[in-house]
């Protein structure tokens, strides 16, 4: 009888604690969601223009490259890795798309070829990380330098225009059913990223590799292939972002995307993904990226100096992570 009583008590205690437990288990996502809501409310009250459909769509359109690359970066960081080369890959694909279009290559071919190039660059870096055991920070730092250098070498430092009549411009500028195309692409990428991260074996192994790679290997999983895979994702995502950027701006510049990797990493970390690996959230990343975008947008609408953006963003990163560690302590038992 007493045994039964205990067994009944355990689940009931879990149910009553569920709201709080869920908040703690998702501490990262909860704290960034709070920040996002607060920032949105503040700008809605402070400016008339913020909470309007055109402005909100504009935010999503402008942050599409960030959202796309950050969703892929969530996978990399969850494995305990990092990819510093995404800004350079973005610049390379932006310039190459302009160059290839000038050569008269049909734009769908350009898009496909550059996505493959991005994936190949990611695969090469992933090979050094996964199979040669070189720290991801070093490999992608080298990649950051080399790939940006190639982009500069191709253009000689100039920006290359894209023919305004080209169908290529649809990707960055067109609207479809009342929504900017870049925003639609970003939403599709985010939905796919969410499903892969949470509902597939690959996503499970990504988390597992970050938590205990040797355990996943001993479970018979090819962990090197999983690690290689996440760098292919960031490579391809950065290429997609470069294509969207070149199309939106109507030119390919080898100087685009400088510091982009830091914005991406900031968005991912703000979203509650642990830099130590094993803990990641695509939803958190979306909120993190949108928070950064909303701050930049809102400060301009409030007629404040745009130079405040990095200051505010940096402070929010620090406070959000600090909240994770303090307020929501217990979600991750320190050992």
């Amino acid at each position: 009888m007493s045994d039964n009583a205990i067994k009944q008590q355990v689940p009931s205690r879990l149910v009553t604690a569920s709201w709080h437990e869920k908040a703690i288990a998702r501490g990262g996502v909860v704290s960034i969601a709070l920040f996002f809501v607060v920032v949105c409310i503040v700008f809605s009250l402070a400016t008339d223009a913020f909470l309007t459909t055109p402005n909100l769509l504009n935010i999503v359109r402008q942050s599409a490259p960030l959202l796309i690359v950050a969703s892929a970066m969530t996978f990399v960081i969850t494995t305990g890795g990092i990819d510093l080369s995404v800004g350079s890959v973005l610049a390379l694909t932006a310039t190459l798309s302009a160059v290839l279009l000038q050569w008269g290559v049909p734009w769908p071919v350009v898009v496909l070829a550059l996505l493959c190039l991005g994936a190949a660059v990611g695969a090469l870096q992933g090979f050094f990380v996964a199979y040669e055991g070189i720290p991801a920070f070093i490999v992608t730092l080298a990649g950051l330098s080399v790939i940006r250098g190639i982009a500069l070498l191709i253009t000689g430092g100039y920006s290359i225009p894209v023919d305004p009549a080209s169908g290529f411009n649809v990707i960055g500028r067109a609207w479809f059913i009342g929504v900017p195309v870049p925003a639609l692409i970003a939403v599709v990428v985010l939905v796919i990223a969410y499903l892969v991260f949470n509902e597939t074996a690959f996503g499970r192994y990504v988390t597992g590799v970050g938590a205990n790679a040797e355990a996943v290997r001993r479970a018979g999983v090819n962990t090197r292939l999983v690690t290689l895979g996440v760098y292919i994702l960031t490579g391809a995502a950065a290429a997609l972002a470069g294509i969207i950027l070149a199309s939106r701006l109507g030119s390919g510049s080898s100087n685009s995307g400088q510091g982009f990797e830091l914005d991406v990493i900031a968005a991912v970390v703000l979203g509650g993904t642990s830099l130590f690996g094993g803990r990641g959230s695509v939803v958190g990343t979306v909120l993190g990226a949108l928070t950064v975008a909303v701050i930049a947008n809102g400060l301009i609408l409030a007629h404040l100096s745009p130079f405040l953006t990095p200051i505010v963003t940096g402070l929010i990163i620090l406070v959000a992570i600090w909240l994770n560690f303090r307020l929501f302590k217990g979600g991750s038992r320190s050992r």
Binding site: V10, T200, R204, R217
Partner: protein, 265 residues
């Protein structure tokens, strides 16, 4: 399955060197179907390394492994799993940030196909995980709990449950009872008896010598990377095993200590 060989597992001449240290030096091991073998030795004797060779986690420099008479060459833990060799690792090999069901099914998650794509079948995974835990008498409230929030004993139970639940031919357990309470140790020993009665061969590595005498048929003693002795449990005693483990030079003190405790098998 070829039943020509009387042995479920036969490892011969296994050697492994980590730069200056010869961790395993021409080690052999045999295991019959349904037999429980106790593998003992001091720290650094090579017990864990030898068992990891059998589980595919370590590739030996030399030596052959036969399973049911067929020579196998494991290049990864996946190969050993395919040959139905399962191991409970000393460090448990769990992913802290993955839930209970996810750890139980790590590497063999049930899938369902949706629009030609392969997704995790989480509903089936949690239902089967619950059944698995209940069958083994492991008390864990929710299979959706992350492993990091469980006690040491629960974590160890999950590692054991994972290895025992997928119909193994060989079950290797490296210190499976280290973090367990008294009642839980009894449950693990019962589990070993139950699986060996079903014909599963078990290798048990433990420092708790009294456990060996409760469940093992045979004890193999290793010393500094070599086999030094093999004894049938029915023909040996704790004192003799202690002497074999520590080596001859401490024979007088060890035997005296064992005598004063006075626990004959």
């Amino acid at each position: 399955m070829t039943e020509t060989s009387p042995y479920r597992v036969r490892m011969t001449g296994i050697s492994k060197r980590y730069h200056p240290i010869q961790v395993l030096d021409d080690v052999s091991l045999t295991l019959r179907p349904g037999e429980v073998l106790g593998l003992v030795g001091d720290n650094g004797a090579g017990k864990s390394t030898l068992s990891k060779v059998l589980s595919g986690a370590i590739i030996p420099d030399a030596g052959t492994i036969e399973i049911d008479g067929a020579v196998v060459s494991f290049t990864s833990p996946a190969d050993a799993r395919a040959a139905r060799v399962e191991m409970v690792y000393q460090d448990l090999s769990l992913c802290d940030t993955v839930d209970v069901a996810g750890n139980l099914f790590l590497g063999r998650e049930p899938r369902r196909r949706l629009a030609g794509l392969s997704f995790l079948d989480k509903a089936r995974m949690h239902a089967e995980a619950r059944a698995m835990l209940d069958r083994l008498g492991i008390v864990i409230a929710d299979t959706r709990l992350k492993v990091e929030n469980l006690s040491g004993g629960q974590r160890q139970s999950i590692a054991i449950g994972r290895a025992a639940s997928f119909d193994p031919r060989v079950l290797i357990m490296d210190e499976p009872t280290a973090a367990l309470a008294v009642a839980e140790v009894e449950a693990v020993l019962d589990l070993i008896r139950a699986v060996s009665a079903r014909g599963v061969s078990v290798i048990l590595i433990t420092h708790r010598l009294q456990d060996l005498f409760l469940v093992c048929d045979r004890i193999q003693v290793m010393y500094e990377g070599r086999n030094v002795a093999e004894r049938l449990v029915s023909e040996t005693s704790i004192e003799e095993v202690v002497n074999l483990i520590v080596g001859r030079k401490f024979i007088a003190r060890s035997a005296g200590a064992a005598d004063s405790v006075g626990v004959p098998a």
